[in-house]
Symmetry: C2
Subunit: 330 residues, 2 copies
């Protein structure tokens, strides 16, 4: 047999490391992957890009963490639909030089995340990059028709709540960039986020839960997106916002307001949702008992599409800017 | 309502231009798209990357053609499975400066391709690039269980055949790079390839057809991949290879062998397949009558995994290299 090009060897390696599992008719190595849909389920599709120089730098992240994160951020979108993950496609453009070493470590991280959340890698694309590393992942999950949770289901009178620790990831990123020592919790929040799949499914099963979104763009951005989708407004209370001791310490080192991280920091991959008033305490107990997650009520949904307002501790009311990470900001 | 960030405005524009159609429960604008699978069908998934500086240069292609091509190359993978396309995800990283103009034109081309082949754009990702434009597309199609055509189904005694015009795209690319005038057929083959979806479905419905693959990596590469997957060999005859007058003229301008384009040139998006000897003439007639496509028999399948051999016009036998575009070539 003639020698085969490097690209196909790498694909054969990946194929060996990700053998086809349940529900899959044909995995890596053909023109496309083939799978058997689950009867009675809807399918949920999402995709995300991670680019060197935009989303990460090699100076502060490892190929292994990138592998984890590139899948985890996609799974967070499935969590926000109440979906169960199934399959992933991975397209990678690698830099010259040490492509094989990078790929091996990247796939270690990717596989760890895939195993933990029950995802099969079934295909993708592999090529050289002209400049930085490019990672494009897409995922397919499933959800029962009645369990689907959309962004546009907020209703006046509901409460707005969040799980996760908004701001920790953005603060961790600043600490990584500044090469600060310590602060491992904040750095891990940025480098190795945990998609809230179990929480997403639990929330989607609750009749009292309305709209559901992940907080990948930051708390204020997610709130604005929910408000806009349902043409409602939100009134958040500053003193309800959870600011962890870790975030307080990290922000102090950076001489920044912890509140600005909590409100506008992105890439936290918690979940934000609306919930019928009166049902939130039972839900909070269940989230804590089963998943050790803290439900934080931020405020309430008000009618009339009046944007997002923040009630400050001093009693003043502030129009909350649409902050968070925006790629095309002016 | 507060002003919303540019990124979300762009996504709302895209959403308006790609309204949800049949089978779709939820399209662009939520955390993920939701669709209803077709009963009794398997699902087919594929993804491809197109990078500026690797796959294209702005000096010789337009955003509109890129929009077309980025979807078309993915659909070619579905064609090679005998699948019917359904949905696409589009992730784009745009350069600073004229992102909106680029996006508008890109989406015009993408939409034209989507309409022609019955694809719904249902989601994706949008961000800034640090350097060149990045395009990542993934597609979902469907196929009936009996109609699926895999790469590993070549059997000794079958014939190896191809539809399309291998070499024209690679020659077109060289002419584009050299800023040659004219040669519109070759240039179009590179810039605006046609995925052979109807042919793929027709081939998949033929009992005599075995393995099926697209020729995106070049004829020799596709042949090697088919041979390797089924552990068979091929003997191709040089005088069977179609070299169009257009390819002959283009190669002459470049002072290159037309045969080397035909054998090793990539990105043609034709289809290569094996077919039972004796059934090829009826199939050729049908392909011509219904789709105006010419079936070209290249040679035959031989047992024993003996690689790919080329019988030259002078009677000599040549081991055919695994050529075509390889990203990680030594």
């Amino acid at each position: 047999m003639k020698k085969i090009p490097e690209e196909f060897k790498l694909i054969e390696d990946i194929r060996r490391r990700f053998p086809p599992g349940k529900g899959l008719c044909l995995g890596i190595g053909d023109d496309a992957a083939v799978l058997r849909p689950v009867k009675g389920s809807l399918e949920v599709l999402s995709a995300d890009l991670l680019l060197e120089g935009v989303h990460f730098e090699e100076s502060w992240t490892s190929p292994r963490d990138l592998g984890w994160k590139s899948l985890a951020v996609n799974l967070s979108d499935l969590a926000a639909m109440g979906a169960v993950p199934g399959y992933a496609l991975l397209s990678l453009a690698l830099k010259r030089g040490r492509a094989e070493v990078f790929l091996r470590e990247f796939l270690n991280g990717f596989k760890r995340c895939a195993r933990r959340y029950g995802v099969q890698l079934v295909g993708g694309d592999l090529c050289r990059s002209a400049s930085g590393t490019v990672i494009a992942v897409s995922v397919l999950g499933r959800v029962k028709p009645g369990k689907l949770r959309r962004r546009d289901a907020a209703r006046a009178g509901q409460l707005l709540a969040v799980i996760g620790n908004p701001g920790e990831s953005a603060c961790g990123l600043e600490l990584l960039r500044g090469k600060a020592k310590g602060h491992s919790r904040l750095k891990a929040a940025h480098l190795k986020p945990l998609p809230q799949l179990a929480a997403g499914r639990m929330l989607a099963a609750e009749r009292g839960v309305g709209a559901l979104i992940d907080v990948s763009d930051g708390l204020s951005s997610s709130a604005h997106q929910l408000a806009r989708a349902a043409a409602v407004g939100f009134e958040l209370a500053e003193d309800r916002l959870l600011v962890s001791a870790a975030l307080r310490r990290g922000a102090a080192v950076l001489r920044r307001e912890p509140l600005s991280f909590a409100l506008h920091g992105g890439e936290d991959y918690g979940l934000m949702f609306t919930v019928d008033a009166g049902t939130e305490q039972a839900l909070a107990k269940k989230l804590w008992r089963k998943l050790r997650l803290r439900l934080c009520v931020l405020g309430q949904v008000v009618g009339g599409g009046r944007g997002v307002k923040l009630l400050r501790r001093d009693g003043s009311k502030l129009e909350l800017e649409w902050g968070g990470y925006a790629h095309f900001g002016g």
